[in-house]
Amino acid sequence: MSGRTGEIYRVDWLPGTDLLHGTCHCGREHTARDPVEMWEWMLAHPRGHEPRGAGA
């Protein structure tokens, strides 16, 4: 149970700012000012996590 499974979500609070920078396990990134919004985006995967250039 203590091992990593590889499905890691990461949120960095960018030093010197109020911004949160999130990286989904799929590699997509997102910036937000609010952790609730950040987790909503993160956990909506794959919705809203399409590769750049793909349709919305």
């Binding site: 149970m1 203590s2 091992g3 990593r4 499974t5 590889g6 499905e7 890691i8 979500y9 990461r10 949120v11 960095d12 609070w13 960018l14 030093p15 109020d18 949160l20 396990h25 609010d34 952790p35 609730v36 950040m38 987790w39 956990l43």
Partner: protein, 356 residues
Amino acid sequence: MPHITAFARNQWYVAAYGHEVGRELLGRTVLGESLVLYRTEGDGTPVVLNDRCVHRRYPLSEPPTRLDGDRIVCGYHGFTYDTTGTCVHVPGQKRVPRTARVASYPVVERDSLVWVWIGDPALADPAAIPRARHLDSPGWVTVRGIEPIDCDHGLLVDNLLDLSHETYLHGGYIGTPEVAETPITTEVDEGAGIVRVSRHMDDAACPPFYARSTGIEGRITRWQDIEYHAPCLYLLHSRIAPVGVLPEPDGGDPGGFHTEITYAITPSADGKVYDFWAVSRDWATDDAEVSEFLRSNNHTVVMQDVDALNLLQRSLGTERTGYQELSINIDTGGLAARRILARLVEEGAKPVERVR
């Protein structure tokens, strides 16, 4: 309206420290289930049974209930149970009713903790228990305690996942301004149910908790790396060193002081939680004064949390029409933990299909 988080069943929970379980009957309530714990006479294996006699529901953890060898004899009418919970004797008659048994619970003693499985016993897998080896390893010294809190276990999870409260609630003990001011990094390992929250302070004041125990004078580099294994085990890996002193390239860290702060967050009943706390160190291990200082100082810190959370629970209970919270950056880890707990609650409530 009371603030209540549902229980996550089909999980392991710490019911006691190993040293609390012996030949005296110990009563604990975990996830609303009344338990009685004891050790067998021969090999000292911990036993966990339901704490209510099948006859008239007398609590088996209460006198004059007693142990007769490895059997519990109910102090009310003498119903006698073996270590599996099977009733082996009733008063005045030879036939013991077939239904006369109390539930027995899967139990594992590991790292000085007694873990109990609450849920379907067929699903209990000891390999799923997260480790806290420092609690029972050579070279480490631990001070510890347990405090019941009259609050929902979710409030204790919130408290521990957001250490910015140290600055305000625990100022003068473990809190300094830098804790609340320093940005955090949060990682969620979805499959493993682990939330990691890191706060690395490059140049911080040394709080009395560490200044007096380590003897470091002046400012410090302070790292706090939380690893929360939902639902029960919380590890805080703490490293402090004189400012600018970092681990060496080969991983050695002779200039750093490593302290492991462990919590087990065990829901007891609705609005009640056991707060198991421990502080382990691999430095000044033979210094009894340091041990006593850390024990007493950390106990004070825990009681500051206990008082605050008791008050918060009562206060939330006066909100008649529901309430809205506001979350900011410091809550990123706590929100992740809440969500994982909600998932575990959902999974624990589902009927499980078995291959027969």
